[in-house]
């Protein structure tokens, strides 16, 4: 076989493979595909009731509405009326009962999107309202759960807490988050011959789209092709939430036998699709005088919405990350998956991990306040170590721990200790403006925790002119996976990037792919592409061996040349020669992540191939009269292993951080008591904009980073982990609030820390101050 023969040092900051097309408007997204003659346009009808029995759907006026060509309801579905990814429960159109406000009930195809959208408003729907459950607390009270509560434990938490010198209890809430991908949900279906369909859709998961559409139509998967060149952001919001739109455009196309484009208006997008799970937790913790945690008991509840979707895996990931970087000798977590009459909450960058981490970080901060010890010290005391205290609560031995070194490096490089003193001085001199600072660590496990998903396929062609096409199951959603994988191919074949095209992700080329999710896209698909290339190289070697009788060991592919020990060829020439001599220049490739295993029943095993680490220091300023806040400075040190592309990695770190900051500060998803979402447009739901950037933003890659596992280029992914660096912003805000009590009281503050919540928290401290007369 072809040996590993390239020296893998890219680390270069190659621009995004579509960068030029992004800036000149030539990059084609689903809505930009030239529509075939006769294309119809869809829109979805729904009612704004969160729990209701449907009596009658009268669509007479919808049919009559200008431009309407066809209408579909659940009766038009020939096969399975469900787009649930793992478990059933997500009907395309429910037959009897609406379970959240905005749940699709029917759809129309019309001659324009505008006319279709006007038409759906004309339905007359009779229904009977049922009392709905909206909040986590209500669901807990009424025991409304998707599955029965799960308990995971290690050691004896109750006893260790009892035996501890110190005890604390409390509760904590982290809010939901809307994905707000700039490209909204969209799908276009084109009917082919024999009842086959070609589907262009903005999804992170073409294969599952294909399977679901096939089941919906009662056809086999080989009749459906799904093609995705790129998507305008996903962040988890198109891992499963895209399915229903592909299903509806395909159903309309099936009924009309015409191409149908279904473009979802922003408000409807936010109303119909699920978001990040909000989590509510109650904890008890026992700890030593130095802050060392002996035991923790946590009740961890999440709002899952009306159906399971991915909620089980998301809650699992919260459980996997409830330790973050800390060794907790005794722990019990009871996990409640609350079923509510809201859209089905779903994947969002971090996938439950951030929510789990926030829970333990809040506990750490409370311990610090109770003991009057800088939280940095409490964190360090509890960190996982190298030769001891290195096994997680799910029994995985951590072999790549670098958090102790990384954290120390950041304390030094960010000048943390001096800044703490300066901030205290500032606060003592300013009555109304207060500063706060925090340093928080991140350890994030990489791999799908559902083990079988950790596989990927690829298809690589070398054409007779020496040009190369690569294809794989990964979706380009801005994270740069096409760029990184093209770099991998370029490096492996010794060709410049412009000789390589990464073609659209296509279920016809690579079947049975996993979602582009879990930060694993480049790790998995890059390795599969590498495998395909190595198989082609083997063919080339075989030819060379037969023809020239030379040793093909240690062949090098460099600068468009193929170099053997005693002979070299121009790449192009040898390719042509290999073809003329009838050897294959095309190959599939395959990869499955080694070493991982997990027993979900016992909740024990090694579900992750490796961990990614990082830490951040944030400094904030708050106005105690209004609760407004500003991030003044952020210092990040993040581990990317040996980077494949530094520019892309920095981009992921900065972008992930800002997205996390949005989650924890200004992005507030609100429902009214009837379960209608109130924040369904950019005018009411605020994601960070340019002025929210930290005034000083120092982002550094950890210099000693290397992946001890054989991931591609020994790199580590940067997809999700950086989001959690933003925890430092939240705790810096709390630190600033705490200063009002001269750090004697640790404030109660739930996420997101909006100006209103900050002011409420300040008031609570002020009241306490007055009552106790500091």
């Amino acid at each position: 076989m072809a040996k590993k023969n390239q020296i893998n040092i890219f680390e270069e900051s190659k621009p995004h493979e579509s960068g030029k097309k992004h800036v000149n408007g030539q990059a084609i997204y689903t809505d930009d595909i030239l529509e075939p003659e006769g294309t119809l346009y869809g829109a979805i009808g729904y009612i704004k009731e969160s729990n209701a029995l449907i009596n009658k759907i009268d669509l007479t006026d919808v049919y009559k509405s200008e431009g309407v060509v066809s209408v579909v309801t659940e009766e038009d579905i020939p096969g399975i009326n469900d787009v649930g990814p793992v478990f059933p429960g997500d009907p395309i159109f429910p037959s009897k009962k609406v379970e959240y406000s905005g749940q699709p009930l029917f759809a129309v195809a019309a001659t324009s999107t505008e006319l279709a959208r006007k038409a759906v408003l004309k339905a007359k729907i009779k229904y009977k309202k049922i009392k709905s459950i909206i909040s986590i607390k209500d669901a807990l009270l009424k025991k409304s759960f998707l599955v029965k509560p799960k308990i995971i434990s290690k050691g004896n938490a109750s006893k260790s807490i009892r035996d501890s010198k110190n005890y604390l209890s409390g509760n904590f809430y982290t809010g939901s988050q809307e994905h707000f991908y700039l490209e909204g949900q969209i799908s276009m279906t084109v009917p082919l011959e024999d009842g086959d369909f070609l589907v262009y859709t903005s999804t992170q998961h073409p294969s599952e789209t294909q399977q679901i559409l096939a089941k919906m139509l009662n056809q086999s998967s080989n009749t459906i092709s799904v093609v995705v060149r790129r998507i305008g952001g996903g962040f988890g919001g198109k891992e499963t939430q895209s399915f229903i739109f592909a299903a509806i455009s395909t159903l309309l196309s099936y009924k009309t036998n015409l191409p149908v484009k279904l473009k979802i208006d922003r408000d409807d997008d936010i109303i119909i699709t699920g978001k990040r799970h909000d989590f509510y937790s109650e904890y008890e913790v026992g700890f030593e005088n130095d802050g060392k945690i002996n035991g923790v008991k946590i009740k961890l509840a999440s709002r899952c919405g009306f159906s399971p979707d991915l909620s089980l895996a998301i809650n699992d990931r919260a459980l996997f990350h409830i330790d973050n970087t800390y060794f907790i000798p005794n722990i019990t977590v009871t996990n409640y998956l609350c079923k509510t009459n809201t859209a089905s909450n779903t994947a969002f960058r971090g996938f439950g991990g951030p929510q789990g981490m926030m829970c333990i970080e809040n506990i750490i901060e409370n311990i610090s306040s109770k003991l009057s010890i800088d939280p940095k010290i409490i964190r360090m005391v509890n960190f996982y170590k190298i030769n001891k205290n290195n096994t997680t609560h799910y029994n995985m031995k951590i072999k790549d721990n670098i958090i102790n070194e990384l954290f120390n490096d950041l304390i030094t490089s960010s000048n943390y200790n001096k800044r703490v003193e300066k901030i205290k001085k500032f606060n003592s001199e300013n009555q109304y403006l207060k500063k706060g600072i925090s340093i928080t660590p991140v350890k994030f496990g990489i791999s799908f925790t559902t083990t079988f998903l950790n596989q990927a396929g690829a298809l690589v062609h070398i054409y007779t002119d020496g040009s190369v096409q690569i294809n794989h199951g990964g979706i380009e959603m801005g994270q740069g996976t096409y760029t990184k994988i093209s770099q991998i191919a370029s490096n492996e074949l010794g060709l410049p990037l412009d000789k390589i095209i990464n073609t659209s992700t296509n279920t016809e080329k690579v079947p049975n792919t996993s979602a582009s999710a879990a930060s694993a896209t480049t790790d998995l698909n890059g390795a599969a592409v590498l495998d395909a290339i190595n198989k082609i190289k083997e063919n080339i070697n075989n030819y060379v061996k037969n023809k020239y009788k030379i040793n093909t060991d240690n062949v090098m592919y460099i600068n468009e040349k193929i170099i053997y020990q005693n002979k070299y060829f121009k790449f192009k020439d040898l390719i042509k020669e290999v073809y003329l001599n009838r050897y294959s220049l095309s190959s599939t490739g395959y990869y499955s992540t080694p070493k991982i295993f997990f027993d979900p029943k016992k909740f024990k095993g090694s579900p992750f191939y490796y961990f990614a680490y990082g830490a951040a220091v944030s400094e904030v300023l708050i106005d105690t009269l209004t609760g407004e806040n500003k991030v003044l400075q952020v210092d990040i040190l993040h581990d990317v292993g040996k980077s494949i592309n530094k520019a892309i990695d920095i981009g992921q770190i900065e972008g992930g951080f800002i997205q996390g900051m949005g989650w924890l500060t200004m992005e507030e998803v609100l429902w009214n008591s009837d379960g209608q979402i109130l924040t369904h447009s950019p005018s009411t739901y605020k994601i960070p904009s340019v002025s929210d950037m930290p005034k000083v933003f120092n982002v550094n890659i950890y210099k000693d980073g290397i992946n001890i596992e054989n991931a591609i280029n020994r790199s580590k992914t940067t997809g999700e982990p950086p989001l959690m660096l933003a925890m430092s912003v939240f705790f810096a805000i709390k630190n600033a609030i705490s200063s009002i009590s001269e750090y004697k009281i640790y404030p109660k503050l739930d996420s997101p820390a909006t100006p209103e919540k900050i002011l409420t928290s300040i008031n609570e401290i002020k009241e306490f101050n007055e009552n106790t007369r500091f």
Binding site: G19, G25, G480, T626, I687, S689
Partner: protein
């Protein structure tokens, strides 16, 4: 002369559109009819900037390059202008415009969907400025959302434009473009097809005639609010009268007593003028929507919309602004205070329009205004407070306070004013006056803030106003 043909310049050609639907947005036209898909739809309400295009507007012998949200601009609004799309910037298909080059080189795109909008906002910045400092850059892209990058590489790209050669193809073709613009810039545009009417008069006398004849029309004067009735509520606007082509309504004059702003003067022109008189007014205008919004939105549009959270309204109320109301009978000057009747209701009658706004100078007064919202840029106020005070020998001789976001209309805090008037300028007076705010307002809960928070902030802003004057030092986090 009246024409029913929309004419605009695109790539130095005159494009003519007959029989257009006046409810069609520029975005839909460009994407669906023109098949130029570089311009993206992100929200269809002017809140994300993905649809940003630039229109070139003739300004004497020059061209102003205005970034606007094409998703909430109706097609007739580009009549007589130059349309510039992201596809048009580079001089040929093989090269990139300097702005595009910078975005590419500094890794300013990730998923790329917001990118054309950023490119267009930065293009307008590039054309309209010579120095691209932090403030200019942030202002230019505050109406563009990016969910991937966190903005850092985009800011770096924008900074790298400093010192770049500005002679792009638009610079080279400028005279040609100006001549073309002059050729198409003359007529009233009126369309009255079977379904919908759209009138775009060129002067006030034609406007009055049309208003008299079609008093039930909606007046379009910026349209950043009105257009949502089409793009979001899925209604039709069957008769529209557009004020944006009337030069007589585009002016800013000042005399000794006041500044007068013509009805269809875009806010972006006004903000530069008001800066030297009322710096806090300027600061709030900078947070009013975005450049794309302020390029079309007008102060009188803001007044006539009468939103309880319109950012200019509490400010104008506390500055004792007057408005000039006009119809075919003549003009009438009245104080803004009294104009708002109820939620989005005013005393403006059918057939009337706001001709101008007069903002008095009060040179001996101290003026302060504060806006509190979840986000700094392009957010609607939870509450906006505005304070206009005259202090002589530590006695409050005059005081005008108004708040937005505290009731169904923007409103003066008369009880609070009364509590302070002729009293000492002291903390005690202000603490006492805080209480009377409770008599002035009973705000409601909504997605932006709870009633309690609003009440409290109203009080705290009053206190902040006192503290800032007293200590002659701002209490602000964005300083």
């Amino acid at each position: 002369m009246t024409s029913d043909v929309i004419r605009f310049i695109h790539n130095d050609k005159i494009i003519e559109i007959k029989d257009s639907d006046p409810n069609e947005t520029v975005l839909n036209y460009v994407r669906e009819k023109y098949k130029k898909t570089g311009t993206k739809e992100g929200c269809a309400e002017g809140g994300c900037g993905a649809c940003t295009i630039v229109v070139g507007t003739l300004n004497k012998n020059n061209i102003d390059y205005e970034a606007i949200n094409s998703c909430i601009a109706f097609l007739p609004m580009i009549n007589g202008k130059q349309l510039i799309l992201v596809e048009d910037l580079a001089k040929d298909s093989k090269s990139l415009h300097p702005v595009q080059e910078a975005m590419y080189n500094f890794h300013g795109s990730q998923c790329g969907f917001c990118t054309p909008g950023f490119v267009m906002s930065l293009f307008a910045m590039f054309k309209n400025n010579y120095i691209y400092d932090d403030e200019t850059i942030k202002d230019s892209i505050s109406g563009n959302l990016c969910r991937c990058t966190g903005y850092n590489p985009i800011i770096k790209a924008a900074k790298s434009l400093n010192g770049k050669n500005k002679s792009d193809k638009f610079f080279k073709n400028k005279n040609l473009t100006i001549n073309l613009l002059k050729r198409i810039n003359n007529d009233n545009y009126n369309i009255d097809n079977n379904k919908r009417k759209f009138f775009s008069p060129k002067n006030i006398s034609d406007l009055k005639k049309i208003l008299k004849q079609y008093p039930n029309s909606d007046i379009l004067n910026g349209g950043t609010d009105l257009s949502l009735r089409v793009t979001k509520e899925r209604n039709n606007l069957n008769s529209i009268i557009y004020l944006g082509s009337i030069k007589e309504l585009k002016y800013i004059k000042q005399n000794e007593r006041f500044i007068e702003v013509g009805a269809s003067t875009p806010l972006i022109k006004f903000e530069g003028i008001v800066k030297k008189f009322y710096p806090d007014f300027y600061k709030i205008l900078k947070r009013y929507g975005s450049v794309q919004i302020r390029n079309v939105a007008t102060i009188s549009g803001n007044i006539a919309t009468a939103s309880p959270i319109g950012d200019t309204l509490p400010i104008l109320l506390s500055l004792n602004a007057n408005i000039v109301i006009s119809d075919h009978k003549g003009n009438k000057i009245m104080p803004l205070n009294g104009f708002f009747i109820n939620y989005r209701k005013t005393i403006l009658k059918k057939g009337q329009f706001i001709k101008s706004v007069q903002i008095p100078f009060s040179k001996n007064n101290i003026f302060k205004a504060y806006k509190v919202s979840k986000r700094i840029d392009d957010d609607i106020s939870s509450i906006c407070g505005s304070f206009n005070i005259n202090i002589k020998k530590n006695i409050i001789k005059e005081i005008f306070i108004a708040y937005g976001g505290m009731s169904a209309t923007p409103k003066r805090a008369l009880n609070c004013e009364k509590a302070l008037l002729n009293n000492d300028f002291s903390k005690e007076s202000f603490i006492l006056a805080q209480k009377s705010l409770e008599k002035d307002f009973s705000p409601i809960d909504d997605v932006r803030a709870s009633a309690n928070y609003r009440k409290e902030i109203a009080k705290n802003l009053l206190l902040k106003c006192f503290l800032e004057i007293k200590n002659n030092k701002k209490i602000e986090i964005n300083g």
